[in-house]
Amino acid sequence: MRVHLDSEKCQGHNRCYALAPELFDVDDYGQAVLLVDGDVPADLHDKARLAASNCPEFAIKIVES
């Protein structure tokens, strides 16, 4: 599974950081920062899906492999 964060779309709702802190951090302005290099470890697949399906700006995309 791969995860993609569109920083242009991110408006800092911080839902991903709350739901999947292993995959997303936030910067000093509250903007999301992806912590993994695209590939999501198997034990975090559910959290990645959760983050994507709770992003109000549709800024997170998941590509299932």
Binding site: Q11, G12, H13, N14, R15, Y17, A18, L19, V26, D27, D28, Y29, G30, L50, S53, N54, C55, P56, E57, F58
Partner: protein
Amino acid sequence: MTDIVDTSTIAAAGPASQRPDYVPPTFGTSPEGTHVWQRVPYDADDYGPVTDFTTDFDHADAAFNPKAPQVWKELREGGCPVAHSDRYGGMWVPITHDTVHEVAYDTEHFTSRAVVVAVGRPGDLALPAPIGGAPPITSDPPFHGMARRLLLPAFAPKQIEPWEPEIRTLCQELLDRIGDVAPGETVIDAAVQYAQHIPVNVIGRMLGFPAADEALFRKFVHDALERIAEEPGTREGMDDLGIYIHNQIQDHRETPRDDLTSYLLNVEIEGQPVSDDVAGGMIVLLLIAGIDTTWSAIGSSLWHLAQHPEDHQRLLDDPEVMTFALEEFLRAYAPVTMARLVAKDHDFHGCPMKQDDWVLLPFPAANRDPLQFEDPDTFVVDRQENRHAAFGLGIHRCLGSNLARLELKVAIEEFIKRFPRFELAGDVRWSVGQIRGPRVLPVRILAVAD
């Protein structure tokens, strides 16, 4: 820990302009005729109370907020994604998630220079867009981004998280102040005795304003958001707010301290210090926007729990579910509707929009769109897919959303911990206008924690 002031202490002062120490307002409304405010061609008396919201929509009719979800549903079932009302000189109301999203993202055709639909709108001499009276909420790009970047760091998650213990203590103190409770008998007002005190105390502390002014802040909120049918220039309360902020700025200039007000007085935009007008406008925004919004969210959530013991029990049994419940409270009972003015004539999905028409931006309606949410009128305490728009969408995403979430979470947690069972005990009085929430919320306490 500062004292919490009783709500009944609003000073019975006369109109500001009649006081000897009156100075003309620095921010907010100015007297009619200066073109700072422009009267829209609308007199509520010509229309009277709404009898059919699907043909004569008025979000500020007293009958609207009590049944808002039902009205959104009826409008949606009418099949048109954008409603129109002749009120307020012409108002468009997108009601689907798609159209609300589109308006929120389109800063070219929709300006934020006014965000509260009223009988007055900014005139030619108002602080021009892109700044507006209370930046960055009233700003458009590119100024918006600069003003917002000044404020974002103060409200980022890692800055807000440390406030949790203090908010928790505040909630516990408020619950202590309720006094002796006889389970099964005692009825309390969860809005007046609890919810309304939380955000006002928190933002007052963050701004470094005296705790004794709590009741005054609530009056400012009422003046800014609920008295929208009054003539522009006659809203004395807005003058009072301007004077109050002016005095706080002076005080903080003379005695800087470690708070948001001093922070804002020292920030720079493009290498220049911000003017008192801009700093004052930002303070107005922080003070007004953070108060009745969060108070409404807390009240609506407790109103839900008072009628849904199964959800209440689930939160007690499984505190982890709060992560999802919090968002579901925000989705189902989103307190905030915003507004825009049409920036230039254009066609929007077949709607002939004219410059200066109002556009209501009802995030609560978007949150109940069945195309975006499965079974949207059902409260699902652990809803897993929830892209709700309670904090808005696009560049104006609520700046204080992290603080609001923290206050809402802690307020609910402490209330249900203290009162493991409670029920609705009478009529709820809902707010009037764009911020929706209970203003009177009688609940009977059925159990008290040991």
